[in-house]
């Protein structure tokens, strides 16, 4: 079997698993777990966007969730009864991606000279500024509806069918959560594709060159200003798409969904998975969405079974385990769980 056949077979297998996953999970674990898969897809999109900025270009961004917020609020404003505007998703999602990309440039432009921890602090501030704006832009003119958030956002409608309603097909009932899953997975695959193509291109090499040695990159004729701005813009675009999907899925947005902890979570997915390595980042996103949820649901019953009562609050235990897992990974696998294996690639040739 040739290399090409193998990769087609692999792709077909992945496609099959992705297609039946919500049906199997929905039937065995219930709809709540399909919802977790939906969020995993959203977070993977976010992590892949952040991976461009942090993983490829080496620019530490702690305010990445701001772009998710921009995408989500743009969708909310243009597709809800809040202003009485109901644009279709195929207009709002690309617009959200574009506006988020513009915000990316807006953040990138003043921070071009900063690196490492200095850049981290400024981006952290930027993320908070966006959240605080969203929280307070309800007076004098009510734009964002403040801390109350925007409700009754339109779900995405595909072929005249809103994705919030279930549909019967081939004897299986596809719930709204499942329908959203398929849409998210298709878009996430699109983002994976874009990410892989970018990585192996003139632009991707320029990003990595800046990460490796900015001075040498300049001397090689790379206009580091433009290339860095491009990284910020591309990363933000992915965040914007993901945010729009989040708004349509939840049918509600409020500023508290876009706090610093969310930025940190997405960064953890990138770092834990393997910075700059797309499969690793996907794994990171998947693990950090599913494992905490499993802890949340599993910790209570397990304690009940072992001690006859719930000794530790599952919520507190979850953060403790999460922290310990982070420390363990950083100690034993500092490059991430699934880092790019240059060496292996060389051997394969």
């Amino acid at each position: 079997m040739t290399e090409n056949h193998k990769s087609w077979l692999g792709m077909a297998l992945i496609g099959f698993v992705l297609a039946i996953a919500p049906i199997v999970v929905g039937a065995s674990l219930g709809n709540a777990w399909v919802r977790v898969l939906d969020f995993a897809a959203l977070y993977i999109m976010l992590a892949l966007g952040l991976n461009i900025v942090v993983g490829f270009a080496g620019l530490l961004d702690l305010g990445y969730i701001a772009f998710y917020a921009v995408g989500a609020y743009l969708y909310a404003l243009l597709s809800s009864p809040h202003f009485g505007i109901h644009w279709p998703f195929w207009a709002v999602l690309p617009l959200g991606a574009m506006v988020a990309g513009m915000f990316g440039v807006l953040l990138g432009a003043p921070t071009l000279r900063l690196r490492g921890d200095y850049l981290a602090i400024v981006t952290l501030g930027f993320g908070e500024i966006i959240r605080i704006f969203l929280n307070n832009l309800n007076s004098p003119i009510n734009i964002t509806n403040g801390p109350k958030g925007i409700a009754r956002i339109d779900p995405i409608t595909l072929f005249g069918h809103p994705l919030s309603k279930s549909i019967d097909f081939a004897g299986i009932t596809f719930t709204g959560v499942m329908l959203n899953y398929y849409l998210f997975v298709v878009l996430a695959l699109g983002i994976v594709f874009v990410g892989i193509r970018l990585q192996d291109s003139r632009i991707g090499r320029a990003w990595v060159a800046i990460r490796e040695d900015e001075v040498a990159a300049k001397a090689c004729g790379i206009n580091t200003r433009n290339i860095k701005l491009l990284a910020f813009a591309m990363g933000a675009t992915f965040g914007g798409v993901s945010g729009g999907l989040f708004a349509s899925f939840q049918e509600f947005v409020s500023p508290e969904s876009f706090g610093l902890l969310e930025s940190i979570m997405v960064l953890c997915m990138v770092v834990l998975g393997g910075m700059g390595h797309i499969p690793g980042v996907i794994l990171g996103g998947l693990l950090l969405t599913i494992l905490p949820e499993a802890f949340r649901q599993g910790a209570g019953p397990i304690q009940q079974a072992m001690f006859g009562e719930v000794l530790l609050d599952p919520e507190a235990l979850r953060m403790l385990l999460f922290g310990m897992a982070l420390i363990a990974v950083m100690l034993y696998r500092p490059a991430g769980l699934w880092p790019e294996s240059r060496h292996r690639r060389e051997m394969a040739k």
Partner: protein
């Protein structure tokens, strides 16, 4: 003989210290021009001013008959000045081939659209880019290391890779900052052959070097810097017998 680079009264201050005092020099097309001087004489500072890493505080530079205004490194690379660094600066985790491909950034065009959709033009450009990178690796003699990560290369090969990366920008003037530093006699000899080959292929070379024997044996003309001032500029034989140079560089009154 055509003048390729003319620097007039270049000065550079770091706070109160004047690192370059009215340094003027002229480099002719096709020559190997050496820049020597004791440690801290301002050689690397001159390099950094020339290649746009530092902004000069006074003076003009004309390159290929065009004024080189205060500019950024990528613009300097664009007009045809490429450089290497004293303490090798490679993209350590990229392969040797990728390093050279990055060097060709300026001479290629593909953007985000081309990267994502891989249209015919992008594919053709990418293929030509790979070919050119392999040619350059072959030229400097490390084609067998093309798929190895830069930091796994031997010291001498890293120097060669840096030269290949600089050549990828299609320079008219190649500025080498102490290329023989840390090399043994055999490696230095091979480097000398490589630089002579560059000149034979029509390139102009500006060379900063500590190894006096290499400079004297290789360069057509040599300038000597001392405390930020040019104290001599001549053919190697004359520079060697210049009393000012002997005093400043070769060890006082000895």
């Amino acid at each position: 003989m055509t003048v390729l680079l003319e620097a007039r009264s270049i000065s550079k201050y770091f706070g109160g210290v004047q690192a370059l005092k009215d340094v003027s020099l002229t480099i002719n097309e096709g020559e190997i021009y050496g820049l020597i001087g004791p440690n801290g004489a301002g050689k690397t500072t001159f390099f950094n001013v020339l290649t746009g890493l530092y902004q000069r505080d006074g003076g003009d530079i004309a390159f290929a008959d065009k004024p080189l205004r205060l500019s950024s490194p990528h613009e300097v690379a664009n007009v045809g000045i490429a450089r290497t660094f004293q303490n090798i600066r490679l993209f350590a985790n990229m392969t040797a081939r990728e390093n050279v491909m990055v060097g060709r950034h300026l001479r290629t065009r593909a953007g985000v659209f081309g990267a994502v959709f891989r249209d015919r033009r992008t594919r053709a450009e990418e293929a030509a880019l790979r070919r050119r990178a392999d040619e350059l690796l072959h030229y400097v003699g490390i084609e067998h290391r093309a798929d190895d990560i830069a930091r796994h290369l031997s010291y001498g090969d890293q120097r060669r890779l840096e030269i290949a990366r600089a050549l990828a920008t299609d320079p008219k003037l190649l500025a080498l900052d102490e290329p023989a530093a840390g090399m043994n006699a055999t490696e230095t000899e091979a480097l000398k052959t490589l630089i002579e080959g560059l000149r034979a292929d029509g390139l102009t070379v500006l060379l900063i070097e500590h190894d006096v024997r290499l400079v004297m044996g290789l360069c057509d003309r040599v300038a000597v810097l001392d405390y930020g001032e040019k104290i001599a500029e001549d053919v190697p034989a004359h520079v060697q017998s210049n009393p000012k140079v002997i005093e400043a560089y070769l060890g006082g009154t000895a």
